[in-house]
Amino acid sequence: MVEYLIIPVIKLIVIFSVFLLIAAYTTYMERKVLGHMQLRYGPMRVGFHGLLQPIADGIKNLFKEDLIPENADKTVFVLAPAISIAVAIILLSVIPFGPPIKILGREINLYLANPSIGILFILGFSTLGSYGNILGGWSSGNKYGYMGGLRGSAMIISYEISMAFAVISIIMITGSFSIVDMVNAQAGVWNIFKQPIAFLVFLISGIAELNRTPFDMPEAESELCCGYNVEYSSMKFALFFLAEYIHMIVFASLVATLFLGGWHGPAFVPGVVWFFLKMFAVIFLCIWVRATFPRLRYDKVMKLEWKFLLPVALLNILVTGLVMALL
């Protein structure tokens, strides 16, 4: 009873609330970091240095008028943000964010589930999440939204491949699909030193799949005036926004667990702290990239994937296999 019901429910509530809070404050971090990189302050008005800004944003979004356009496909229009956020939150369940800890004499694992197919679970469901964006763009009955959705599906089709191939090389050297096994295998040397090329491919295609600058094709403001979510308002828009940030958090935790050793690190601070430090470092990197690079042209984005990342990832798998066979 305690094993199978109470502990998972407590974990569920803790993971849900903590990560939603982190997602809300990632928006604050993004605005603040971007601001300082562009020599301005970012949000300053609400609370000390704008610390209460995400809460103010949330309240504002709740009280906005919820519009559904006249020529929208109503069912799909309402369903799209729900798909987006639900899939994003499901992804959080398989991420291990710390070594097992002891509470009241019980050993508690710091993840909700450790399926033997963990990494495939994340790859599969992260693709499903982008149906939210695509259907949202399609259903709003707006040409900009439509173009955004179309570009979104093209991006997912292309960059999912190189991302999966980068993960395959990690699966090869770990010999398991379970994310916890992958972290345990990195107790000595982190995977970033064993697989630097896979790391770079994973990072680039991950940022592309998150639809962030320089790859933000589906929501290019200057071309599509915000793309797939242009007709959304109020909480529906907020859900899209939140899903995007949760996807970024999941991506950052994946980079941390697959390549940066997960919760491993010098023992003077607990593993959970190491995990969150690495996660925020990767999130900071994403924001840094956004502040640094201009948006790529659409055909160049496609060329980068099919003519560069994909061959490199394939070669990396071949070389990994050869080295593993020879050693």
């Binding site: 799909v76 495939l120 599969g124 469901f125 499903l128 259907l135 089709i157």
Partner: protein
Amino acid sequence: MEQALILICSIIAIGTAVMVIFSRNTVHSAMWMVGNCFIIAVLFLLLKFQFIAILQVIVYAGAIMMFIIYAIMMLNLRVSDDSAEPLKNLLNGRYLLVALLLIGLFIIGVGFGPMALKGSMTDPAMVKFGEVELLANYIFSEGLLPFELVSILLTASIVGAVYLAKKN
């Protein structure tokens, strides 16, 4: 319990498959198809095939349906307007419901018939060796010839598709 779940999932699977055909909007059809792929993954999961279930989600619900939705949006297919079709009246909600009920009864009949799992993918073997290992061993030893033939067939079809597209 498990039998009942399998039954419910099968009925949902058939229902979604029927909806793929009877939706008047192409994107709605594609969405029902995604649902169908997903529920079939659940069926695999109920049969304890975790790996095949997640492959079903990645390959069919993820990749292939994404391609189909991309194609639908690229070609800008709209609602078909052949409303004067006589078949439509014949196949409206009531008849569909009756048909679903009959199909459900059929599944119950098949479901309670004697069944046995044949081949190497049995429960004890999966626990002992792991599902992925069993599959890989089969594909790369006994099933090598058909596996390679299928890959050659796929390559040939890709080359053919490129040739057909290049002609224009």
